[in-house]
């Protein structure tokens, strides 16, 4: 197995993988910020008591969570042209990843807000704070810390999900692996190098998440 593994080829293709890594990071960062721009308003609408706001937000979240990302990707990739919209593959990919992660981020933030003890909310109402002040001074400062670890978890999922963009021929890490596998007929070298790159990103995010959890636990112990 390992005796046939060709490490020389990997060094030849290293620039390609670095380029792919950069593209994956860029796509993930864009999609993550897009997801926040969708997820935060969706969460606020979901928590609203106005049904005209909460029902569409709930529907969006449920539909996204109940269908595969690949189907969502194909839906827009094959569907947008028939609506007369022409976007590049990369833009479609970032858009779909944002829409997908946005629904999960909305749920994460909602859970964070709901985790604030109701007594805190009552107390802040009793103090005469309005909704904006309650959010700003009482709820969000307590909720944000709690949401960081699951948000990092979502970032891990997003980075891994971005691999699917290679299926609509966006260049990123997985595509780099495929290119190497098909040019040199070496699937093992290509895909294991890709996997190693993803693992590296995973461990970075995981250790940061662990550090933050540790901090949260220490804060609570005080």
């Amino acid at each position: 197995m390992l005796s046939t593994f060709n490490f020389r080829v990997i060094t030849d293709y290293l620039p390609l993988f670095l380029q792919g890594l950069r593209a994956t990071l860029w796509i993930s960062a864009m999609a993550m910020s897009g997801a926040f721009m969708i997820g935060v308003p969706a969460c606020i609408c979901r928590l609203s008591r106005v049904r005209l706001l909460s029902a569409p937000a709930a529907a969006y979240i449920d539909v996204v969570r109940s269908t595969p990302l690949l189907v969502q990707l194909y839906f827009f990739y094959f569907g947008l042209p028939s609506l007369g919209l022409r976007l590049t593959e990369q833009h479609i990919g970032i858009m779909v990843l944002s829409l997908n992660s946005g629904a999960y981020i909305a749920e994460i933030i909602r859970a964070g807000i709901l985790s604030v003890h109701p007594g805190q909310v009552d107390a802040s109402i009793a103090c005469g704070l309005n909704l904006f002040q309650r959010m700003r001074y009482i709820i969000l400062p307590q909720a944000i810390g709690e949401t960081i670890p699951p948000l990092l978890g979502q970032a891990v999922v997003l980075v891994k999900d971005s691999a699917l963009l290679s299926l609509i021929s966006v260049f990123e890490l997985t595509r780099a692996g495929q290119i190497m596998a098909s040019e040199r007929f070496m699937p093992a070298e290509g895909f294991f190098t890709t996997a190693a790159c993803y693992l590296l990103l995973y461990y970075i995010l995981k250790s940061f998440s662990g550090w933050w959890r540790h901090r949260l636990a220490a804060q609570k112990a005080l």
Partner: protein
């Protein structure tokens, strides 16, 4: 024009039914396999055997740290080269089983660890052996924190089974992909595919929420 496309879509109905059957088979088999795999590794991980713990941690990290797309590529393209010829179906079920197993392992281990230590000690003091402690005392209590995420994991598994379409398996996503080559109406075709997944996944998500409300044991009740 729409009626024309609709007629062609009706023609491909039998292949859609076939696709659904393939999706059901693959998800069903790997659901059973993944649950068994996750249960065994999850329980073993909570035992104090360093080597076993280390091996299981590596398995879980590698699966959770890499995209499923890469995993299916490795199973389909590389394992045959290393003398383990897997048909597309076998590769799909094996990789999905390992994938689900890693996530379920985390869920099971987390659930077991959430049971207070005192329960173990009490069970041991009652003269139960390890198997009895597990079966009669620990697992019934852990179930409350295992079931909701477990059902959520099944949803993820069913959604991820759409990715096996890339190795040519005629599951429902692949049928959609082939249909869209003849009927260039991406919104309609993948809208339909999305609805099919939604019909299975949405009730499961509701079930998971229901479990969460019913079964989560709050430690404040004591």
């Amino acid at each position: 024009m729409w009626t024309f496309y609709f007629e062609r879509l009706i023609v491909s109905l039998p292949s859609f039914l076939n696709g659904i059957w393939v999706t059901v088979q693959i998800s069903g088999l790997s659901l059973i396999g993944g649950t068994l795999m996750g249960l065994v590794t999850g329980i073993l991980r909570t035992r104090d055997v360093k080597v076993l713990r280390g091996l299981i941690t590596i398995y879980v990290d590698v699966v959770r740290g890499t995209p499923y797309l890469i995993q299916i590529f490795i199973f389909f393209f590389i394992l045959p080269e290393w003398g383990l010829p897997l048909e597309a179906f076998g590769a799909a079920v094996a990789s999905l089983t390992l994938y689900a197993g890693a996530h379920i392992c985390e869920i099971v281990a987390g659930g077991i660890e959430s049971v207070p230590r005192g329960q173990w000690e009490a069970a041991r003091a009652s003269g139960f052996n390890w198997l009895q402690q597990m079966r009669l005392v620990i697992l019934p209590q852990a179930l409350g924190s295992i079931l909701p995420p477990l059902v959520g994991q099944y949803v993820l598994l069913i959604k991820n089974s759409s990715i096996v379409s890339v190795i040519g398996l005629m599951d429902v996503t692949r049928v959609g992909w082939l249909t869209v080559q003849r009927v260039p109406e991406g919104l309609m075709v993948f809208g339909l595919v999305g609805i099919l997944y939604f019909c299975v996944c949405y009730p499961l998500i509701q079930l998971s929420r229901w479990f969460e409300r019913r079964l989560t044991i709050r430690d404040t009740t004591l």
